[in-house]
């Protein structure tokens, strides 16, 4: 298995177990620009790719009743400072199957990189998906990244979806996620973002539609807008007429530090079934002074103390 060193370095930065990534037999797919570097499926897990002029279309399928215990690693990157990449994944979990995906997108040298992803995900009855996507966009604020998710959760399904961008610069990031939840399904959509500079410009729009009885959802954003960073967050949850006893919650917590930083949180909730309940809470504020003083009284400089506190909040 040939994994570019820069992929490994950046995955490690984002907390992935690089040893496990390199274990032989572990399912994975590594793509640089539009080149497939390495691909490994497994019994019950089919991974297919189709090369496009500027990217790759991918199909991942877990067969009925198959529960894949070890994580599948997906890594999409552009190693040049400039480039464009379009990734079109389609992920299908058949009935009663289970999958854990650790995805990593990396543009470590980016000065002018565009990365677009359009993912379609379907969880068939009683399947379970744990999906984590970490990003590293280098240190030059030179990336423009547009991930798009359309997710369908059939009856009795379970989804944990995490998006994490805490290392390095961001550049432009625009996430759009829409999920439909059928009866008895559960979805948690979790974003953790730290914008550190004037050129960091983030917008996240998570939209969940509760369309079945007893469906449950949670949207979480933990963020920090530092030194001019901007984070705009819109979290929407709707319970339809059919969504009897459904529950939804939106939770947004952000820290804002420094001049010209900007954080905005817009919750949208709507309910059409009298037995459904949707709630939201949001807070945006400066770093807690007492925490700051405590850490400085332990010898941390102000900068070190702030970064420690931010890492605690954005978790």
């Amino acid at each position: 298995m040939q994994i570019p060193n820069l992929f490994l370095k950046s995955a490690k930065k984002c907390g992935y177990d690089v040893k496990l990534m390199q274990t032989s037999g572990i399912s994975h797919l590594y793509i640089e620009s539009n080149k497939i570097l390495s691909l490994q499926g497994n019994p019950g897990l089919i991974i297919k790719t189709k090369r496009l002029s500027q990217g790759v279309a991918i199909k991942i399928l877990v067969k009925k009743n198959v529960k894949i215990k070890k994580p599948v690693f997906l890594c999409f990157g552009i190693l040049n400072p400039k480039g464009k990449q379009i990734i079109l994944p389609e992920i299908i979990l058949e009935k009663n199957s289970e999958l854990k995906i650790l995805a990593h997108c990396t543009f470590p040298q980016a000065t002018k990189v565009i990365h677009k992803m359009k993912a379609k995900i379907e969880l068939k009855k009683a399947s379970k998906l744990f999906y984590t996507e970490t990003h590293y966009h280098g240190e030059n604020f030179g990336a423009e990244v547009v991930p798009n998710f359309k997710i369908l959760l059939r009856q009795n399904t379970y989804l944990e979806n995490k998006f994490i961008l805490k290392q390095g610069s961001i550049g432009k990031l625009k996430i759009n996620l829409e999920a439909i939840l059928e009866k008895n399904s559960f979805a948690e959509i979790d974003s953790q973002i730290i914008g550190k500079g004037r050129e960091d410009d983030v917008s996240i729009f998570d939209k969940l539609l509760l369309e079945g009885e007893n469906s449950h959802s949670l949207i979480k954003l933990k963020g920090a807008a530092i030194n001019g960073g901007k984070i705009l967050f819109k979290g929407e949850t709707r319970a339809s007429k059919l969504a009897k006893n459904s529950r939804g919650h939106i939770d947004c917590q952000e820290i804002i530090i420094g001049k010209n930083s900007f954080a905005q949180s817009i919750p949208i909730i709507s309910v059409e079934n009298p037995e459904a309940r949707i709630t939201h809470e949001a807070s945006i504020g400066k770093v807690n002074q007492k925490q700051l003083e405590t850490l400085m009284a332990r010898g941390l400089s102000e900068k070190q103390a702030i970064s420690f506190i931010v890492r605690g909040v954005v978790k």
Partner: protein
């Protein structure tokens, strides 16, 4: 050698320019314990904050020397790096941060072993507490012990402990005094201990009584205690102390 020298220190709150401390002078010797007592609102915490350099308070006159160097103008973290440490009266909580990571942040080079040792020393089982979060689920007594551990792992030369015994029950604060004694033996640090409890007396090398922002008396602990009782009107207690003395 003197660890700390405070000379004619007057302090006001930056917010309302109200004078809180007036013309305070005292010294703390190497490897000694100085106990500071005084009623609520007398300015004990303000003195602690001023010594560590919290910018809410402004020195209007006087100077602070630590290890012979004037530190009155240094920022908090520089004083801390010189070996001055403060355990806060009401410690802050940190959502999402584990006890282990907090203690690691507090101790620049401490090994895992030392972090566990510090927890042991304050009576918290490392196995149980390392992974706990520093949030409100900790009881206030547990949080206070972690505060103490976080000061220990700094290996300071002077620990200022602001009422580490408040909010602890009777058995526990007795245990705490043994802990403080152990700390002194183990680390050779001096301690400036702010407290309301006279039970601490056996530990004190020196003491001071702060009243309405003035250090009205300093000397032997028992003498200070008598002044304290006289002043706050605890006559009975005062008589008892006097009897014990003669």
């Amino acid at each position: 050698m003197k660890i700390l020298e405070v000379k004619n220190l007057s302090v006001e709150a930056r917010a309302d320019k109200k004078t809180i401390l007036k013309n305070i002078s005292f010294e703390i010797e190497e490897k000694s314990i100085f106990v500071l007592i005084g009623p609520n609102g007398s300015g004990k915490s303000t003195l602690a904050y001023t010594l560590i350099g919290i910018p809410r308070f402004k020195i209007t006159s006087g100077k602070i020397f630590f290890l012979g160097k004037e530190i009155s103008k240094l920022p908090i973290y520089k004083r801390a790096r010189m070996g001055l440490a403060l355990g806060f009266q009401e410690p802050a909580y940190f959502k999402g941060i584990s006890v282990e990571n907090f203690l690691k942040a507090c101790s620049k080079n401490s090994q895992q072993k030392e972090i566990e040792k510090a927890l042991d020393l304050v009576g918290l089982e490392p196995k149980k507490f390392l992974k706990r979060k520093m949030d409100q689920q900790l009881s206030s007594g547990e949080r206070k012990r972690i505060e103490l551990a976080s000061v220990i792992v700094m290996k300071p030369k002077l620990m200022i402990l602001d009422e580490p015994d408040s909010g602890l029950d009777i058995i526990i604060y007795k245990e705490l005094y043994d802990i403080l004694d152990n700390i002194r033996q183990a680390t050779n640090a001096s301690i400036l201990l702010i407290t309301h409890r006279e039970e601490i007396g056996f530990l004190a090398d020196q003491a001071g009584f702060l009243n309405k922002g003035e250090l009205v008396y300093k000397g032997k602990f028992d003498d200070v205690m008598i002044r304290y009782c006289q002043s706050v009107g605890r006559r009975k207690r005062c008589r008892k102390l006097k009897v014990k003395k003669t």
